[in-house]
Amino acid sequence: MTKKKKVVIDTGDAGKGTSEIAENANTQEMEERALSVFASERNEDITALVLCLITTFIVLLFTKWVV
């Protein structure tokens, strides 16, 4: 007799490894598994880039363009 059950590290069901991470993947899943607050990797990277550009713009504004 074989007993086999799948153990689940309980984090919800979206964005599992086998499927692509959907645009609106379960945020909790991402938080628990990937230690990130973003719904997908692409969102995280793009947000990082946008925030960097905003920082750059503000810095440019106050150190080069306005002064």
Binding site: G17, T27, E31, L35, S36, V37, F38, E41, R42, E44, D45, I46, T47, A48, L49, L51, C52, T55, T56, V59, L60, F62, T63, K64, V67
Partner: protein
């Protein structure tokens, strides 16, 4: 009501920040801050305390008055607020209080111990931040209110890497890129094969040597995590491998900078060595900043190596997948491994690099040129070693031959550790700037006199003065400010990443992975040390 209760820590932190900002503003703390040698950052302290304090208070009020939602604003701003503020407070406390205190304390222990603790262990704010993070998780644990915010760490670290892109020139990137591709290529493949071979000798299962070889060869835990599903590693193999790699990397992070300083490596050599020899990429950044946190040369080199490793990772995953493909019966295509997993933030790094190369960040009137900035900045200071050379020379009376105004400029350089105007006059920008520039030209006069053999100064003193002058030169205010933002991002990110290093993971080190890992890790570190010393010459960095 219970929501207000949950937000009490955030209220307290915000309130404390504002009170602290007010206290600093009144100048009561000036003696203490001068003693800690951080009084020049007072303006920044006040601004940061007020801005972060107000944001924290507003956030806490909103959080306690409304139901937690699932909107973008909720998820990315309101919920992580507590953790972000906590990390920022830790970063500020470490940078302005803990680091100077550690330095002062280890100097006072110098007499009994015979060496400076902070120098041997490289306890600057980056390493202290990482350690503080590790300590917090493993003792008290990450507080509940901060859990969501701490998860922003890797995101902020990515921002740091993107911002770093602004600091390279084409020539540097090309030169460093060639170094890194050769060194990383050689050592990645070398270590992977060494581990597989050692595994064969010790008769260890292929699944274990598979994960271990990726971890030791490419980028530590990241590679282990990426490769484990591909080679179908057993649970014990993953656990022991991760533990070994994490512990080995942490030890390297402390040992590498000390050895690098002992043998007198330059910034490029150390960056190349750390980038090749240290396993985890966060630890590479920490070691680079530990080697030299005053200017960011080493970090620039090390991060190029880091990025090269990241780009090598998919290749290794593919190679190991082919190696184990027959057994696991799993097919991996180029698309799933390389394209789907391509780190987009590296494109951001390139974008900032292109913007910077296009001259966007240099002052309009001087393209990458003779812009002079004499404002206060920790990073425009001379290095602690140079400061000691100058201070000793002053006490030994080496500057006797200088004229009075040159003497005053040198005295002030030693006093302020950088070329700047007078601290008391910092509010009068024009005067401050004039005094600073005058001091700079006096120091240039000193160098000219040395060159004309009118004044005799030792080579070290000359190079220290030269460095002080170059620190206020050549950097546009934009670049300086952008670099400061970047350093804060790195400090923030590394504290947060420290919080993800649990003792559970560290104590998991052991078994065969420890044996094979130590052999291959030490071999890699030693060999790369000699190859870097032999091959890598100083690249002229701006």
């Amino acid at each position: 009501m219970s929501r207000t209760k949950e937000n009490i820590p955030v209220f307290i932190m915000g309130g404390l920040l504002i009170v602290y900002g007010i206290i600093v503003q009144t100048g009561v703390l000036l003696p203490l801050l001068t003693y800690l040698h951080v009084h020049k950052s007072m303006d920044l302290m006040v601004t940061m305390s007020f801005v972060i304090g107000v944001i924290a208070l507003v956030g806490a009020v909103i959080n306690s008055s409304k139901e937690p939602g699932n909107s973008v604003f909720d998820r990315f701003v309101l919920q992580p607020m507590g953790g972000i503020v906590l990390l920022l407070i830790m970063a500020m406390a470490i940078r302005w209080y803990l680091e100077p205190l550690v330095i002062i304390m280890s100097k006072s222990l110098h007499a009994t111990l015979g060496f400076d603790v902070y120098k041997v262990l490289n306890l600057n704010y980056v390493v202290l931040g990482l350690l503080a993070g590790v300590l917090l998780t493993n003792t008290y644990g990450i507080p509940k209110f901060a859990a969501a915010g701490v998860k922003c760490a890797r995101f902020v670290l990515k921002m740091g890497v993107i911002m770093l892109g602004a600091r390279y020139s084409f020539a540097e990137l090309a030169k460093l890129g060639v170094y890194s591709i050769w060194l990383i290529g050689f050592f990645v493949l070398g270590t992977v094969f060494l581990v597989l071979w050692l595994g064969n000798i010790f008769k260890q299962p292929k699944t274990m040597t598979g994960v271990l070889s990726a971890g030791m060869g490419v980028c530590g835990v990241s590679a282990t995590v990426a490769v484990a599903p591909v080679v179908k590693a057993k649970s014990s193999e993953m656990a022991y491998t991760i533990g070994t790699i994490l512990s080995f990397g942490i030890i390297c992070m402390f040992i590498f900078p000390t050895i690098g300083k002992l043998v007198g490596m330059n910034a490029v050599q150390f960056g190349a060595w750390a980038g090749t020899g240290i396993l985890n990429s966060a630890q590479v950044a920490a070691a680079a900043l530990a080697f030299n946190a005053v200017d960011i040369k080493t970090l620039k080199v090390a991060e190029i190596f880091n990025i090269t490793r990241v780009l090598f990772l998919p290749v290794i995953v593919l190679v190991l997948a082919t190696w184990f493909g027959k057994e696991s019966g799993q097919k991996l295509s180029f698309k799933t491994v390389v394209i789907d997993k391509f780190p987009i933030f590296i494109l951001g790094f390139l974008l900032l690099f292109i913007l910077s190369s296009a001259g966007l960040f240099s002052p309009p009137e001087h393209y990458k040129g003779k812009y002079i900035d004499v404002s206060y900045n920790k990073r425009t200071e001379v290095t602690p070693e140079e400061w000691e050379v100058l201070n000793k020379a002053m006490q030994a009376g080496a500057f006797k031959e200088l004229n009075e105004s040159q003497m005053m400029a040198v005295t002030d350089l030693i006093h302020q550790r950088q070329i700047a105007g007078n601290f008391d006059e910092r509010n009068d920008k024009t005067k401050f700037d004039q005094v600073g520039r005058a001091r700079m030209s006096e120091l240039e006069g000193v160098l000219a006199a040395v060159k004309a053999k009118q004044v005799r100064l030792s080579k070290e003193v000359g190079s220290a003065i030269k460095h002080a002058i170059s620190q206020v030169h050549k950097k546009s205010k934009t670049v300086v400010t952008l670099t400061d933002c970047m350093i804060w991002f790195f400090a923030f990110g590394l504290i947060g990443l420290g919080m993800q290093i649990t003792k559970k993971a560290i104590f998991q080190a052991g078994g065969w992975p420890l044996v094979i890992g130590v052999i291959s890790g030490v071999a890699k570190a030693t060999l790369s040390f000699f190859i870097v010393l032999w091959l890598v010459k100083d690249v002229v960095l701006k």
